[in-house]
């Protein structure tokens, strides 16, 4: 066996991954003609248009909803990771499987489950009205709340796993030592636990935030016309408005944010390791 074993996978990824990205990047500088055709002129017009308030509000909503979803995931995921790590070997395995298995069930199906529950005639409203908690149905579906629920539901395991790994690595004698020396729970958390699990928290937040930012199905199915996110805007440019150059520019705007975040977190992890 020689290094040539790398040629087939490398060639495949160059042709079907790198080249398409380069092509779509090039498209982002072109222009759209009257009939949706591509005019090969170079300009930054698409990027300038992308930061027009009209589109910027969608970018801002994507960032805001992704941040909220990330925050909620952290709030519940962090203690869950601790709980799993504190169990015995066998229980740990079971809890991790239980966390992962639904994650691998179809994305659409999981989103549909929430439509089924949240819609006006859905389960939540028939239960609430049935027990007399409300007299008229609560409208949650097609709002930002539904989108956030869907995002948290989908990406929560991404938050738990890296935090779990960092909690597992933590030397628990440090906590015992601090307690023996009279530290309060709050002090222990702030000065020992949190700094030592920081790497896990950062990866977890990135792993949740990044897919949320590019989400398409969740806002498409659970959100309404007023809760569109970047994924929807990009899809519309490609499949409805047929303005591919503008769609390409929007894609690279999202890509840029994602790559920046990944780079920043990689740097943070590296400095941590030193």
């Amino acid at each position: 066996m020689k290094k040539s074993i790398l040629i087939p996978p490398a060639a495949w990824l160059i042709v079907f991954f790198v080249v398409p990205l380069v092509v779509v990047f090039a498209y982002s500088f072109f222009e759209r003609g009257t009939y949706g055709e591509i005019i090969y002129t170079f300009s930054f017009d698409n990027y300038i248009r992308a930061i027009d308030p009209l589109y910027l509000s969608t970018l801002w909503r994507s960032i805001r909803l992704s941040l909220i979803a990330t925050g909620i995931s952290l709030l519940f995921g962090y203690p869950l990771a601790w709980y799993i790590a504190s169990r015995g070997e066998q229980a740990k395995k079971i809890l991790l499987v239980l966390l992962l298995v639904p994650f691998w069930t179809n994305f659409l199906v999981r989103t549909y489950a929430w439509i089924f529950i949240l819609r006006t005639e859905g389960l939540m409203n028939s239960v609430l009205m049935g027990v007399g908690l409300t007299t008229s149905p609560i409208e949650i579906l097609f709002t930002e709340i539904a989108v956030v629920i869907g995002l948290v539901y989908t990406y929560l395991p991404f938050m738990v796993l890296p935090i779990y790994v960092s909690v597992e690595k933590l030397d628990h004698r440090l906590i015992d030592a601090a307690r023996d020396l009279g530290a309060t729970s709050r002090q222990i958390f702030r000065n020992i636990t949190l700094p030592l699990t920081r790497a896990g928290v950062i990866s977890g937040c990135i792993l949740v935030f990044v897919p949320c930012l590019g989400a398409y199905i969740t806002p498409d199915l659970l959100g309404g016309a007023k809760s569109l996110m970047m994924g929807n805007l990009i899809q519309m440019q490609f499949l409805a408005a047929r303005d591919w150059p503008f769609g390409a520019a929007l894609s690279f705007l999202v890509m840029g944010i994602v790559l920046l975040l990944l780079y920043a977190s990689a740097r943070a992890q590296e400095s941590e390791a030193k």
Binding site: M1, I5, L6, P8, P9, A10, W12, L13, F16, F17, P20, L21, V23, V24, F76, G77, P79, L80, W82, Y83, L96, V97, L100, W104, T105, N106, F107, L108, V109, Y112, A113, W114, F116, I117, E121, L123, S126, Y153, L156, F158, P162, V165, S185, S203, V210, P211, G214, Y216, I217, L221, G231, I234, Q235, F238, L239, W244, S251, F252, V254, V258
Partner: protein, 263 residues
Amino acid sequence: MTSRIALYLNAWLVYGFIYAPILILVVFSFNQERINAVWTGFTVDWYLKLFSDGDILAALMNSLMIGIPSTLIATVLGTMAAIGMHKYVFKGKRLFESILFLPIVIPEIVMAVSLLTFYVWIQLQLGTVSVILAHVTFNISFVFVIVAARLSDMDDRLEDAARDLGATGWQTFRHVIFPLISPGIIAGALLAFTISWDDFLIAFFTAGVGSTTLPMKVYSMIKFGVSPEINAVSTIMILFTMILMLLAIRFEGISKTAKTIGS
């Protein structure tokens, strides 16, 4: 002590949040009532209707026609990448490693639009083949990650011993490396098939007329409105994926799967 109870309650809350919607979905696939979310009686009618629905069966066939070949190709290429990256040091290794990881981390929609643009640019007819090519592309990365994790656990001295005893490169691979990493390859293949089977977005952008996959069909059903048939088809899809994933976990172990995602 109170913090222990809080941790315990939080765990119940999160697992309840994760499982309740799925359980509700499954339970209501056996409900007679069509419109309202009220239990009126047990039935398997919605399942029977599915199996006589030509569109759904055609979509199922398309999903298999795409999933099987793309899994096979991605498994071979991903394994080659993992072995090559494990054994050799070369210029640009870091760069190639990033390229191997990128398909997992970049937003799916960006990958979808770039493939669509590329296909139109090279004038490739959108259809089953275009989806297979797309699925192979992201699955190479997933297979690579799983097999690479397996290889890093392998004792390299075994390979040296085989070489010292006169085995050729191929014999070493066939009789030493391959048996050791085969559970990883199988787990990688199962994972790849699951991802292909579940993919909606990439197929949505790169499929052509007549190559509607099962998730695409389900999507159009959802867009049309809530119906018990969707609950039924969802239940079948959930069952199918869970079986595949439990098999993958059996082969590779949960802690490694968790670590792979965690890192």
